[in-house]
């Protein structure tokens, strides 16, 4: 029986066991409430992509790839490049994943990841313009989720951020006639900060950082905060049909900043080792 199938047969017994453990301040796999699972970040795994990164977070495994071409800016932001983040929970990833267009959970996952990158100002999209209002760089980041074992939000965010950090994109130039040509030169993206997403589960009255799939199966609510390296919170999202008290929200936000610094370090090391 595979790992995920086991989750499904989690019965009241296990739920009780989990609550007893949490009352003693520990978790099924021995972690403390605020401990994350080991994360490894391996950039440049897909040579054909302009940037790429494979992230393992416990048994959760995702690959992000960056592709760049030239596009037309939105009419209301003629002076900004395009950045599009998409994700697919591949049917390989879990017995519950179905082939087909992304469902609401995957759309939420991609949009929250996108907002973390966008609102942190990680990429200076003002520098991705070739001809204002006409031609801009269009940066596509796609994430393939290969194995789903909880907390896709943080794994996907780390993969997208590290793929963007290590990307080398083709330099385009404007010709004399105003058309666009691709040069042989490769340039990095204009990076301004490194955002880090931290997701917490609420089970009963406990807040746990980085839930695995067994914890997700019994959690009441989920909350994610993304922080940048300048001390700001720059994106947030509560999920599921449970609630948080006002105090729990404030606690989660400050916890996300602390743990975000750790994740940022892991991303930096992964990126550094790749160069």
């Amino acid at each position: 029986m595979s790992a995920v199938k086991k989750i499904i047969v989690i019965e009241q017994l296990k739920r009780n066991q989990m609550n007893e453990l949490l009352a003693r301040g520990t978790r099924l796999d021995g972690r403390g409430m605020l401990d994350t699972r080991p994360m490894t970040v391996t950039p440049n795994v897909i040579e054909k992509a302009e940037g790429s990164s494979r992230v393992l977070l416990g048994n959760t495994e995702v690959i992000a790839g960056v592709k760049v071409n030239v596009g037309t800016p939105f009419p209301d932001t003629p002076d900004k490049g395009l950045l599009v983040v998409s994700a697919e929970v591949l049917p390989l990833a879990s017995p519950y994943a179905e082939p087909g267009p992304p469902d609401e959970s995957t759309i939420e996952l991609a949009r929250v990841t996108d907002r973390g990158v966008r609102e942190s100002g990680m990429i200076d999209v003002g520098k991705l313009v070739l001809v204002e209002g006409k031609h801009v760089y269009a940066v596509f980041v796609d994430v393939s989720i290969l194995n789903a074992d909880g907390n896709l939000f943080d794994a996907v965010s780390a993969a997208v951020v590290s793929a963007l950090l290590t990307a080398k994109i083709p330099k385009y130039e404007v010709t004399a006639e105003g058309s666009i040509t691709k040069t042989e030169e490769k340039i990095p993206l204009p990076i301004q900060t490194i955002p880090a997403a931290v997701t917490m589960a609420k089970i009963g009255d406990y807040i746990l950082v980085d839930p695995d799939s067994e914890e997700e199966a019994v959690m009441d609510a989920r909350i994610t905060f993304v922080s940048d390296d300048r001390g700001n919170i720059c994106a947030g999202q509560k999920g599921l049909g449970g609630t948080f008290s006002f105090e729990q929200v404030v606690f989660a936000a400050s916890t996300a900043k602390l743990k975000g610094d750790q994740i940022r370090e892991i991303i930096k090391q992964g990126v550094h080792s790749a160069v």
Partner: protein, 248 residues
């Protein structure tokens, strides 16, 4: 948040007033009407600034297909949708990724307030139609939907009231409108159950320090409490008005 840290010329003037003349902690005008759609089991209409939003509830009712019913509680389903004429540029009527996400968080914001276990093997449908959009349409839509659910007579633990705070021209403000949303620095929409002090929706776009986050969060809670008073009045006006409409 098109321009994080961007252009903030006239968003707050020298008197500390905002482009529409509001103070930093002032809500836009709000109007709530109950029970205006004839076919729906419950309905509400809200004007929130320039937002014009209709909410309707059908159910609890039979589920089709049957295998999607739950043995121990009602299935809550939600659709947030914008009419094509509701926005500056015509909106394609097919649901966008944004509308799909909002439909999801809206459902999760309303669910904690509903006694779904009182209606096993049924479904409750909540439809929110944005006829004209302004900043904060998801908060206005949630607040209208909660009133429509009460109008439909669904058993509830509490109402759900929603409001956003944000950051504009380096200052925390209550209830971000369309221009402030586009040119400002942060938007923090939340929904609460006001009598049990629980957060049922929270999203954040844009940059806030710890301190700003704390202030914005508290302002948004207070804003939601004001919305709650208007929800109550609308429901009381509907069900206990001197003219004597039917009692709930």
């Amino acid at each position: 948040m098109g321009k994080a840290g961007g252009d903030s010329r006239a968003l707050i003037n020298e008197q500390g007033l905002r482009i529409d003349g509001r103070k930093l902690d002032e809500l836009r005008p709000i109007k709530i009407e109950v029970g205006i759609l004839k076919n729906a089991d419950g309905s509400a209409y809200i004007e929130f600034g320039k937002n014009k939003i209709m909410a309707a509830v059908y159910g609890p009712k039979e589920v089709h297909p049957k295998h999607s019913a739950l043995p121990d509680k009602s299935v809550l389903r939600c659709r947030y949708h914008m009419s094509p004429f509701s926005t500056e540029e015509r909106k394609n009527p097919a649901p966008s990724r944004r509308e799909i996400e909002i439909s999801k968080v809206m459902r999760e914001a309303l669910e904690p307030a509903l006694m779904l276990q009182d209606y096993p093997r049924t479904a409750i449908d909540v439809f929110v139609e944005v006829l004209q959009s302004d900043g904060g349409s998801r908060c206005a839509g949630i607040s209208a939907a909660a009133v429509a659910l009460a109008d439909a007579g669904v058993n509830m633990r509490d109402l759900v009231a929603a409001c956003a705070a944000g950051k504009v021209a380096e200052q925390v403000v209550l209830d971000v409108d369309d221009t402030e949303d586009k040119e400002g620095q942060a938007d923090l929409p939340i929904a609460i159950m006001p009598n049990v002090n629980q957060v049922t929706l929270l999203q954040l776009d844009g940059q806030l320090t710890d301190e700003e986050f704390g202030k914005a969060f508290n302002w948004a809670i207070e804003g939601a409490r004001k919305v709650y008073q208007l929800q109550r009045q609308a429901l009381i006006g509907r069900y206990f008005a001197p003219e004597g409409n039917e009692n709930s």
